[in-house]
């Protein structure tokens, strides 16, 4: 079983990202489970969401403590929250940042930084980075196919909004595939 933990702030769509990643993974034929770190969601407050991937039905209901993958939607969280806590050796951490990340990940963990905010602002006109980072996640981990992600986004968003989110995700996908 592989596990993903998403760190974000309330309003950044971390829970939606977890849900859509699970939907895309399920389309790819694996069992997936997505759930939020249940809290009182306020805009700007640190939030977490989780996804599990497995080749059989998932029974475990505890939160994710030793993730294989981590997505950090907001690099300012690194100051306040130990976002890399428990990451497994060989794990992949994706951080949204336009600058070099001012923190070191544990040895053996691959750190990918991507300026998802700039992509989102350019493509969506909004600093909402969840869908962009889903594209990066697909490219970095191979847990979900881009076509499945595209379907998940198209089912969640309407018309033009779906197109733009898919475009933002594709941009990040291509950048990570190209070695971002």
């Amino acid at each position: 079983m592989r596990e993903l933990r998403i760190h974000g702030r309330g309003g950044q769509g971390s829970v939606t990202a977890a849900e859509l990643i699970a939907v895309a993974a399920f389309e790819g034929g694996v069992y997936a489970q997505a759930f939020p770190a249940f809290g009182v969601e306020r805009r700007g407050a640190p939030v977490q969401a989780f996804v599990r991937f497995n080749d059989q039905a998932i029974r475990l209901r505890s939160q994710v403590y030793e993730p294989d993958y981590i997505i950090v939607q907001d690099s300012t969280l690194i100051r306040d929250v130990n976002v890399f806590l428990g990451v497994k050796p060989g794990g992949i951490v994706i951080v949204n940042s336009g600058k070099k990340v001012d923190a070191s990940v544990p040895a053996g963990v691959r750190l990918i930084t991507i300026d998802a905010t700039s992509i989102a602002l350019e493509v969506l006109g909004l600093p909402i980075t969840n869908t962009t980072l889903m594209g990066a996640f697909a490219a970095a981990t191979g847990e979900i196919k881009f076509s499945a992600l595209e379907n998940a986004l198209r089912n969640r968003f309407r018309g033009d909004l779906a197109d733009k989110n898919i475009m933002a995700a594709k941009k990040a996908y291509d950048m990570v595939q190209g070695g971002a």
Partner: protein, 384 residues
Amino acid sequence: MLEITEGSHAVAKAVKMSRPQVIAAYPITPQTHIVEALADMVADCELDAEYITVESEFSALSACLGASAAGSRTYSATTSQGLALMFEVCFNVSGMRLPVVMTIANRALGAPLSIWNDQQDSIALRDSGWLQFYAEDNQEATDLHYIAYKVAENPEVLLPAFVCFDGFILSHTYEPVDMLSQEDVDRYLPAYKPVQRLDADDPISMGMYATPEYYLEFRYEHDQAMKRARNAINKAGKEFGEMFGRDYSALVEGYRLEDADTAIIAMGSLCGTIKDAIDEMRSAGKKVGLLKIRCFRPFPAEEIRNALSHVKRVAVLDKNVSVGAKGAVAIEVRDALYGKALPVLGYVLGLGGRDVRISDIRNIVSLAESGKGDQFYGLRTEVL
């Protein structure tokens, strides 16, 4: 067909396919997504039901009471403080023998205020005369709604039912669920045929005044109906299994229990984590098994006695506490095993959303093996 969806939406779909004629509910976290989805379905004419918006949970269940008395298949959903506000109406619905089905997205009760999961809310209504089912996952949570209607409306039973599923842990989780088709549900669950109902052309009284010459007999009849529910569940669960491959005929379900030395007993979503913990412990040579209680009312005392005849100790995990006594499940399991020389150790855990991990289950089994129990597990002593 297997689809991936949020637990609340899976439950809302199951409710829709059960074709309730009247829904009355008041939104409350973490039940909200269920009733929002149902309100959408009614507004979009996907579900032909009367959706009554109300100003409180008391009114929600009161509206259901009236609608059910008039002969409608009726649905509500709530949790925690909302269920507490329904307390009085719960006893009226069950005493009037009205087969209302209500989803409980289990949540802790205040004070202190908590929106997080435990099972104190439905356990506090233990004595209210409703059937109580507890779901391990969202598959059970959906399927148990069909079973609940079938059993509740059985003329041998005529009792309301709670379908309990853990708030957030199941209600807000996306996972694959095998949804039945409307045709399947219609085959399994035909339209409700009330034995008697309020009818202006043929007037009757319901919920009338009972003098001391009659009240005791009313309560006895209620208790007898609950006892008959056992057979009705066996039958409804078996029929469901024959039709759709998932057998819910048993009120309890064992997991790797056949040769176990230590039996863990639990209800709800905790059972999934326990199963993973058991697989780990089994690989390390520990003979541990689970007895899941799916139906808490009627209480499956006989099934528990039979299932545990060979074990050396029983660890009961309660996401509730009867303050001043123990967890409710531990109390009742000990009662079921009265006269047997079998240690029953109770652990109160996971209250107010405290996460329960595989390592916690391992620790509890170790505690049970050393005879230590009847305690709150996982206390942060530094804040006491």
